[in-house]
Amino acid sequence: MAGYRSRLEKDLDGWIARGLVPAVSREPILADVGEARRLDAATTLAILGALLAGVAVIAFVAANWSAIPRVVRFGLILAAFLGASGGAAWASGREKPVTTHVLLAVAALVFGAAIGLTGQIFDIAGDARTALRGAGLAAALLALAGRSPWPAAVALLFIGLGDVTGGGWFLGETRWPGWLVWAAPAGALLAWRWRSTALAHAAGLASIVAGFSLSAMHPHRPEGLFMAMAAVLAVLALGARSRRETAEAQASALYGWWAWGALIWFGAAGFGEAFRGVPHSVAWMAVSAAVVVLGRTDRHAAVTAAGIVALFAAGARLLFNLGVGLMTSAAVFGACAVAALVVAFVLKRARTA
């Protein structure tokens, strides 16, 4: 805010000098922008003191943890969880959204830790995957109750960790895909509804990670599933692209992640038997080049970067498929270059016409 205000002051002086803005409007405009909120020394020291007191309490409890009776330890954990939740409820009642989100996210993390610590305190044997997914569902419940995107991002984290934990990934067994396959789209939907860019980023990343667990449905021939995943993500990316006028920040974040995901899973499909070979690599290069063009047209850095990285990967893959035969490589890259130049020429003609 302070940076914007100083830039605005400089711009206003220039506009007034050129007669674009009347001098009398200078103060009302600056007053409308307002001053950035700054913490004074006393408040800063008070915050630091509170943080240090918290650390001291945690260290004291940790030092005496095993000497504390089990029931009291369990009570401490519940108190920490209910304290964070109660703080979030109090903050939401006073319309402090950031404090509410932070405290609810803390409560979700504390509850996740509470599940593990309760198992340890009372020697309750359990499955780590079930515990992590339980923590994820608890975080999702807190998110829905408080209409808060941050615990929803924590829920995606726990559910993702649950998907990759103790699943026997390398045993080659056929299994259901992980929970992220439905949790990631749900997260994207909530990000859209709650206009949360942070949750949009978390859901976008989770959408890509969800693809890993799809391989479990068909562990020996997963390439078809990867190609389907690439197609779904490409459609979603185009959908988010078309919605950027309604909710720019969230749609833009999802557009970027889903473009990355579509290219990653398209490339991954090429490592399976069904799509292995030069045609897939050439198609991957063509799609990547199209994504670069799309990213430049939309002025979207993440989409452009996805296209460029995929272009390099596809090129390397193509060279590998060609057995690094230089004459063949020269012919294929030359054909690709001609195709790109022809498309560029056609687009240029279309724009000038």
Binding site: R70, S85, G86, A89, S92, G93, F111, T118, L142, E173
Partner: protein
């Protein structure tokens, strides 16, 4: 009537806290009401560099040199969760076999518990032959304060074969829950305090 955000947040938090309390109570009741059996344990790995406020052990019983492996335990099982049959052998229990389904395991021994059992040669290239049955019930730690846990670990390492036992409770659901350990004739039980 629209419920306010603070009420919704607190309702969700109380629900989750009650769920956690319910889990602890349910496990406590199941542990208290299950059938108690004693199973032989050994030190997990005396060279382990990691230690803490817990005793780490493994359910392991060395078989007599000419004894055969219990049925279903000779080869690594093709399933990740099975049913282990236990049969009494004096004051303690031993692994009598393993099967994928509960009914099949019940035909091998009077008490069945969820888990995996594997039987393997313990011979070394330098000589010595034998077999041992290892049992995986989903837990291998007994939490205690650090000094107590270290003392128990030392006693477990020094205990003769069959000199250490774990007291487990087998519930109606077939789940095994740790109740305590008996090392060198001294029994330490889990309690609420």
């Amino acid at each position: 009537m629209r419920i306010g955000l603070p009420v919704r947040i607190m309702a969700a938090a109380v629900l989750l806290a009650l769920g956690l309390v319910g889990l602890v109570v349910r496990e406590g009741v199941a542990r208290a009401h299950g059938q108690e059996v004693l199973l032989p344990i050994e030190a997990y790995d005396p060279r382990s560099l990691l230690s803490g406020h817990y005793l780490q052990f493994q359910f392991r019983e060395t078989l007599a040199a000419d004894a055969a492996c219990p049925p279903g335990t000779e080869t690594p099982p093709p399933f990740r969760r099975g049913w282990v049959a236990l049969a009494p052998a004096g004051a303690r229990y031993r692994v009598a076999g393993m099967a994928e389904r509960r009914e099949a395991a019940r035909r091998l021994g009077p008490l069945v518990v969820r888990g995996l059992a594997t039987c393997a040669d313990t011979g070394t290239p330098l000589g010595g032959r034998g077999k041992a049955v290892e049992l995986n019930l989903g837990f291998n730690r007994f939490h205690a304060d650090q000094a107590h846990a270290e003392a128990m670990s030392k006693a477990l390492i020094q205990a003769p074969a069959g000199g250490a036992l774990a007291a487990i409770s087998v519930g109606r659901d077939g789940k095994a829950r740790l109740k305590g350990v008996v090392i060198g004739g001294t029994r330490t039980d889990l309690d609420w305090f």
